[in-house]
Amino acid sequence: MRGIAMTKKIQSLFLSFTLIVTSFIGLGQVATIAVADEFPSKPIEVVTHAGLGGGTDTTARMLLIRTRKNLKNNAYITPKKGDGGNKAMSYVKSKPRDGHTVLAITPTHLFRMARGGAALNIDDFVGVARTTVDPIVIFVNAKSPYKTIEDLIKAGNKKPIKYGGTNVGSVDHISGLIFAREAKTKIAFVPFEGGGAIMTNLVGAQIDAAGLNLDEGKDQLESGELRVLAVMADERLSALPDTPTLKEKGINASFATVRGVVVLKGTPADTIAKLEKGFLKAMAHPVYQNYLTGAGLDASSVAGSAAWDAEIKKIYKEARAALVSLGLAK
């Protein structure tokens, strides 16, 4: 009998506990509805297209550390890997346009859109802030006979340059092809699994040249194993003051690994402004600035909504033109 009494007591205790908890949850919901108009009213979700610990993931995490404080709100990352960012885009498409879902965008997404058949179009986005800019630098082995970019171009005319980059259809690939077209030379593109593999194969002289971010070859540049020939940018890099840009050489090929955040078009303007302010303040903080320095970048990486929005549209247009002219998109 005592056993049954015990069980009953536990049951009633459990029931009342459940009731209390449920009523609290109910209260919480009422509270949320009351302030739903005020952004942010729930945690912000940042959608990435790459694996944990990669460049995009790490940049987003570093960005969020101070953003949480600035917006007095929680924020988290949802990785949606697949089909060159398309998976991430179709996920974002399914979300309300209220600024609580942010897409971390890279040239990968823009090239994927430019190829056609992606879940979203370039006009479906509004740029909020740029987080990093990392121009592509043309590296060669220091023991190679190529002392200037002209040497490399000339050599390519005799026998295609073995040019390393990441996968086919990526910004590395397209930038290499455009460089070859504009400089009237030939390349044989050798795809690798990542920047580290490209660098190793360049030092090991398996390939002739490669487009890398400066940071990916910085140590080997300093130790004298690699040499830089040109930067694919409109202006020279502060870290490489003596290296010419392709533009100076009359070659129209400026490409960079840029990263930034966007929201869906239709998000209220004041919400975008709040997000922009929160992100920009976070990126001005030493936590983010130290991260940039560690990655071999500087404060010029950061840009606001207007500049970033214009830039992604420009990159998209160029990517589209490049893919069409190369026959990789219709």
Partner: protein, 492 residues
């Protein structure tokens, strides 16, 4: 003797506790299928900015060590390798647990892991700058030859029939072709499923083939046949057993350290090759796959020595030797530090902190592993009706958690069903796993080699390292037939 005096770097309380905590967290996370040490480090990265750079990096390195070891626990107990490098540990570890020797398997895993880990660390601290250059010598042709050498063992990787092993290997190679082809950008067998464009994720397949198919096997056994597993389950290995595995452990350590240096698959490939070589040279060949203790020692020594090996190019060149060390390099960036030759010349303290941090981590998981073996091994005494349904939940969560994708869960379930029927028809999962692990490497490196060689395959003859591997492959395939032929002639 700068090295010895630098031990003081990790002797303050905060650093010590951080390393202790990270190692134990690493072991636990490593043990859970679907959660990897790389993931754990990535998630912890932002929080480390509040630590001293030295402490942060030491904690990450310790987590890496703990995580690699942790994978063996679930591989042995429930046939669910906690991380890909522990896949080969399940080949013999789980049969041992089923024979009532879980404690022995766990104890052997801990000891061989530590021996492998420590030797590779000593190699790291003394020879890193020299050995790191090996990474530069390995271009696509060398990787291709190495992968071919690995594949040459397919037929003999398990004690099942060689023909079935080869078929299994081909199934693995087929699965590895799914996704976008590296050099042409053409998508194969993706059926417009976005998640498949980057290939079938390895972890769900692993969980499916091992743990999920095991659930079906267990479910198909009649409950009446259930034997009470003897209490010997919690016994640790004897000194003689350790001694007998000595050679195997050393051989695997050499293999693991070397393959770890190569910036490729690291732990998983070295564990597979370590296991295979152990089987090749063992006196108890027939026992492999049925619960041979050497079959646990070999992959565990190999995958843990690969951690030290993988740190060599990571620290000396700034090239990650494995997925996890890539994340550790991200940690360097966050703290404004740089790996590379610079580290050895200008930041020796950081280097010593990493060395001692990893060394300490090895001792911590030795203690944790040996003490824990007695407790964990009791899992093998849990009645099947309770154990396997819980494993099923693990399988689901583990395959979903990796990238929060239901497609991965379906892949796991399909692999489970396919694995069950394959096992019933006398196939072993080992060659399938081997095929998947080496499939992409063999295909990509060949495609790259062809471009580099200007379509002229005879250029392989100009590469001494590649040729060495090809000759080893030839010997491993034809050594026996040739020997048999010679002895036959003599007897005539």
């Amino acid at each position: 003797m700068e090295l010895i005096s630098k031990i003081t770097l990790i002797l303050d309380l905060t650093t010590f506790l951080l390393i202790l905590g990270s190692t134990i967290v690493g072991v636990l996370i490593g043990a859970l299928p679907g959660l990897s040490s790389g993931m754990a480090i990535a998630l912890l990265l932002p929080f480390t900015i509040y630590l001293e750079p030295n402490q942060a990096i030491a904690a990450m390195a310790a987590l890496y060590c703990g995580g690699t070891f942790g994978g063996s626990i679930t591989a042995i107990l429930i046939n669910a390798p906690g991380a890909p490098p522990a896949a080969a540990t399940a080949f013999d570890g789980f049969p041992m647990a089923q024979n009532g020797q879980a404690g022995k398997a766990l104890g052997m895993a801990a000891v061989s892991s530590v021996i492998g880990g420590i030797i590779s660390l000593i190699v790291l601290i003394i020879f890193a700058p020299t050995l790191a250059k090996i990474a530069y010598k390995f271009g696509p042709p060398e990787y291709f030859a190495l992968a071919i050498f690995g594949l040459s063992m397919l037929a003999s990787i398990s004690s099942k029939s060689p023909v079935k092993n080869l078929i299994g290997g081909l199934i693995g190679l087929f699965v590895a072709t799914i996704g976008v082809h590296l050099t042409t950008g053409i998508s194969r067998f993706t059926f417009s499923i976005d998640e498949l464009f980057e290939g079938v994720s390895f972890v769900p397949v692993l969980i499916g083939l091992f743990a999920m198919s095991e659930i079906f096997v267990q479910a198909s056994k009649s409950e009446l046949l259930l034997e009470r597993i003897k209490f010997s389950a919690i016994k640790l290995p004897s000194i003689t057993e350790f001694k007998n595995c000595g050679k195997t452990i050393l051989r695997s350590t050499g293999i693991g350290t070397f393959i770890g240096i190569l910036p490729a698959e690291g732990g998983t490939v070295s564990a597979m090759i370590g296991y295979n070589e152990a089987r090749r040279w063992s006196k108890n060949k027939e026992n492999f796959g049925k619960g041979e203790i050497e079959g646990v020692a070999a992959p565990e020594a190999a995958n843990n020595s690969a951690t030290g090996g993988a740190m060599i190019p990571t620290l000396a060149l700034g090239i990650p030797g494995s997925a996890t060390t890539a994340v550790i390099l991200g940690g360097f960036q966050i703290h404004g530090l740089r790996a590379g030759p610079y580290l050895f010349e200008q930041q020796p303290d950081l280097l010593y902190t990493i060395f001692y941090g990893m060394l300490l981590a090895n001792f911590i998981f030795l203690v944790f592993g040996l003490l824990g073996a007695k407790i964990f091994s009791r899992i093998s005494l849990i009645p099947r009706g309770f154990l396997w349904p819980s494993v099923f939940v693990f399988c689901l969560v583990g395959s979903y958690g990796l990238s929060q994708s239901m497609v991965d869960v379906y892949i796991m379930l399909i692999s489970g069903v396919v694995g069950f029927f394959l096992r019933r028809s006398g196939f072993s999962p080992a060659p399938i796993i081997m095929g998947i692990v080496l499939g992409q490497l063999v295909e990509n490196s060949l495609a790259q080699s062809i471009i580099i060689f200007d379509q002229n395959l005879f250029m392989f003859f100009t590469r001494p390292i590649a040729m060495t591997f090809f000759i080893l492959t030839f010997l491993s395939l034809f050594y026996k037939p040739i020997k048999n032929l010679l002895t036959e002639r003599k007897s005539k």
